[in-house]
Symmetry: C2
Subunit: 218 residues, 2 copies
């Protein structure tokens, strides 16, 4: 089997591949995992030996089918556990990520499937991220963010691109949670600061914040 560390590398490579990048760079992985490029090179070699990634020196790394399957399965676990923690144990959406980082590695088919069933086969996690189904199929978000809207447009909040505690906490204070409807009232031309309507309240939100909020136009 794969160690927790190997699984975390696979997950990181998977996520970095989503931006259409062909050949994920050593530095990008090091950054994401808060480790050093030399450590990444070592691990990549090991993953390549195990046929989990394809790799040529200096050319970046790509997941094989096998590696991608492992990554998706870890992500499935992670998101199912986040749903469990929020729905069943009443955690808040800014509290569950770190716990899910640990729970995701208990990678037993039967446990995952039973958990999925217990939760009623949820399609999205508490941050709006799609949960891969048991065959690994995953619907990616269309990635329209609040910052893409123009004055007068309305949309529903469907996810976040940034998962830090401070961001999630901030959003909750503004009542900018999943499912809430927003309307763009005004945009400052200089720095794209937005004035929006949330639950009938006027809210001012920076571009830094609005470009991490995934929405669906209505």
């Amino acid at each position: 089997m794969n160690s927790f560390t190997e699984e975390n590398y696979l997950k990181a490579i998977y996520k970095l591949s989503l931006n259409g990048v062909q050949g994920v760079s050593t530095n990008a992985i090091a950054d994401k995992l808060a480790t050093k490029p030399s450590s990444v090179t070592d691990m990549i070699k090991k993953l390549a030996d195990k046929k989990l990634v394809s790799y040529q020196k200096y050319q970046g790394v790509n997941l094989t089918k096998k590696g991608s399957d492992v990554a998706v399965s870890i992500i499935r676990n992670h998101r199912l556990w986040e749903v469990f923690l929020v729905e069943k144990l009443n955690f808040k959406w800014d509290e569950v990520h770190d716990l899910a980082e640990e729970l995701e590695h208990i990678n037993t088919h039967k446990l995952t499937e039973r958990l999925d069933e217990f939760l009623g086969f949820p399609k999205f996690d508490p941050h709006g991220d799609p949960i891969p189904d048991k065959d690994g199929n995953i619907i990616q978000h269309k990635d329209v963010t609040l910052s893409d809207l123009i004055r007068g447009e309305k949309a529903v909040v469907v996810g976040v691109k940034e998962h830090s505690k401070s961001y999630l906490n901030y959003l909750e204070q503004l009542q900018l949670v999943l499912g809430v409807e927003v309307e763009v009232k005004d945009i400052v031309e200089f720095d794209a600061t937005m004035q929006i309507l949330v639950n009938n309240k006027q809210v001012i939100i920076s571009n830094q914040a609005s470009k991490n909020l995934i929405v669906k136009k209505i």
Copy 2:
């Protein structure tokens, strides 16, 4: 914090201490953890440095208050997760131990307490083992086993001393599960094989099996 490995050592020492032994031996720990005595000596030294055990060369090891607290907390996690797996995810009692061995190390106060609450503050796990409360208080079984009974006595099954898959599976086939009433019909003098009544059915059970079944006389 403590590594998974350290936690497993503490748990092993805790369990070996329950037999009233003063000074748990290196070999006993090695046996329980399926490792070598030399590895145990190394780890004991580390745990002693961390004030989790008290230890003098060649004299065996004892948990400190601090070490005992960690051990009890891991055991609490383990048993709560076993309840979760059986009650909520419909696992059978012979399937949950290995999963709980992994889940128990996600040792976060808040998670444990929320899980306890979600499960309705259970007092016993699926094998009849008592669950320590949040302050670490734990009621130990009185340890009367089926093999202690004499002809004609009746009792209720309240636990098992052996947790192997094969034993639990065997018991289930005989319908010897928690809460079931048994009556001793006959005992073979030679090897203490018992003939008992379970759910109105006659069952023959070896001493090997009967001495691992914890019961409460009625």
